[in-house]
């Protein structure tokens, strides 16, 4: 670690803080900050991934249970089959929810930038077409 202190400014470069600088300092002071160490984005993305996998397993388990429920020796077959189908549907729902969570916490920040750029370029393109139409 370097322990070198910056000396005080020596030239007249240290101007009186302008109104802009004062406003900047005020905005920084009022800024709501998250502790980066407390960021849970990665954890939520991982939870989403786990839910996806668990959902798929549950859905397949439901499918196989439903297939095995209707045998000649099982009088409860249709009821068990309905339960298994419900379980499979719940598994699919968990998978969809997990996928949504995973996308939200892993790709969202990256995609937001490209979306903003795409919107701007489309607007600019529209403006150009409109101007060309006027001419």
């Amino acid at each position: 670690m370097s322990q070198i202190e910056t000396p005080a400014p020596t030239t007249a470069g240290a101007a009186e803080p302008s109104e802009r600088v004062a406003r900047f300092k005020a905005e920084i002071a009022e800024m709501r900050l998250r502790d980066p160490k407390a960021s849970r984005d990665r954890v939520w993305a991982l939870v989403g991934l786990v839910l996806m996998v668990v959902g798929v397993i549950v859905a397949f388990a439901g499918f196989f249970i439903s297939r095995g429920a209707t045998t000649a020796f099982n009088s409860q077959g249709p009821a068990e089959q309905r339960d298994a189908i419900a379980l499979a549907v719940a598994g699919v729902a968990v998978t969809v929810f997990g996928a949504a969570m995973f996308i939200r916490y892993s790709f969202a920040q990256f995609l937001r930038f490209w979306l903003a750029r795409l919107i701007y370029e489309q607007q600019a393109q529209t403006d150009r077409i409109v101007e060309a139409g006027k001419g």
């Binding site: 670690m1 370097s2 322990q3 070198i4 202190e5 910056t6 000396p7 005080a8 400014p9 020596t10 030239t11 470069g13 240290a14 101007a15 009186e16 803080p17 302008s18 802009r20 600088v21 406003r23 900047f24 300092k25 905005e27 920084i28 002071a29 800024m31 900050l33 998250r34 502790d35 980066p36 960021s39 750029r117 701007y120 370029e121 600019a124």
Partner: protein
């Protein structure tokens, strides 16, 4: 007037930063007093640009903290800092090459200023851009592209300006022209942290300079005092002790 009453505009406290497992900034302490120009000089790969990325929130530090006006801003989002008035003009200009000059300037209207106001500021400082307002930015010369990048930055009315390798790939006469603008901006009271590999021009503008090698600051002081240390740092002196002994 105590330092507590008037904290520095920007301060790095034992900042460490890494790309994956590779640490490139190894505990940097640096202060940018309010209203001054501080230059970070050093050879390629010293960690200078990484330090700027940490300052503007693009890269979270692995340890240590960044303070702006006495407030710890470690973990702040870059867009929040940009809205408040911190502006980074990145290495490689950071313009949209497939948009025209005017369209690039329009990208700065997120601050709430009208395009006319932004153009007025940009074309007053850089009349050449005014002549090329409908030209696609990718077809401008390197100097004009850098002017456009600066115009976009200055249009946001920054209070703290971070400049990364302003002179990269430009002719010396263009670099001098750009640093004249930097001096004008500084005289308006804007605090500026500038990173440069090529020292000559920036030392004429800076109030303070720091030499950075191998991810650490090895010397800090007025430009006149550091000029002699530069060649030592660039030619392989890797530690503060090495540079200190050359004085």
């Amino acid at each position: 007037m105590s330092p507590v009453d008037h904290p520095p505009m920007l301060e790095f406290r034992d900042v460490r930063a890494a790309y994956g497992r590779i640490e490139v900034v190894h505990g940097v302490d640096l202060v940018v007093p309010s209203g001054t120009v501080v230059a970070i000089l050093g050879p390629n790969g010293a960690g200078k640009s990484t330090l700027l990325k940490v300052a503007c929130g693009l890269l979270p530090p692995t340890a240590g903290d960044v303070y702006i006006a006495g407030r710890r801003i470690t973990g702040a989002r870059p867009d929040e800092l940009a809205r408040a008035g911190l502006c980074l003009i990145p290495e490689g200009k950071g313009i949209f090459p497939n948009l025209t000059v005017r369209e690039n300037l329009r990208m700065s209207t997120f601050t709430g200023k009208s395009l006319d106001e932004i153009e007025d500021v940009a074309f007053t400082r850089f009349p050449r851009l005014g002549e090329r307002r409908t030209q696609v930015a990718g077809t401008l010369s390197g100097g004009e592209q850098q002017m456009l990048a600066m115009s976009r930055g200055l249009a946001t009315d920054p209070a703290l300006l971070l400049l990364d390798e302003l002179s990269m790939g430009l002719a010396p006469i263009i670099v001098e022209e750009l640093y004249e603008i930097v001096a004008q901006v500084a005289s308006d009271g804007v605090s500026i942290l500038v990173v440069e590999q090529f020292a000559q021009t920036v030392l004429g503008v800076a109030d303070q300079a720091a030499i950075m090698t191998h991810g650490t600051i090895v010397a800090v002081g007025p430009p006149s005092e550091l000029a002699g240390d530069l060649s030592t740092a660039y030619l392989g002196a890797g530690s503060a002790t090495d540079v200190a002994t050359t004085r």
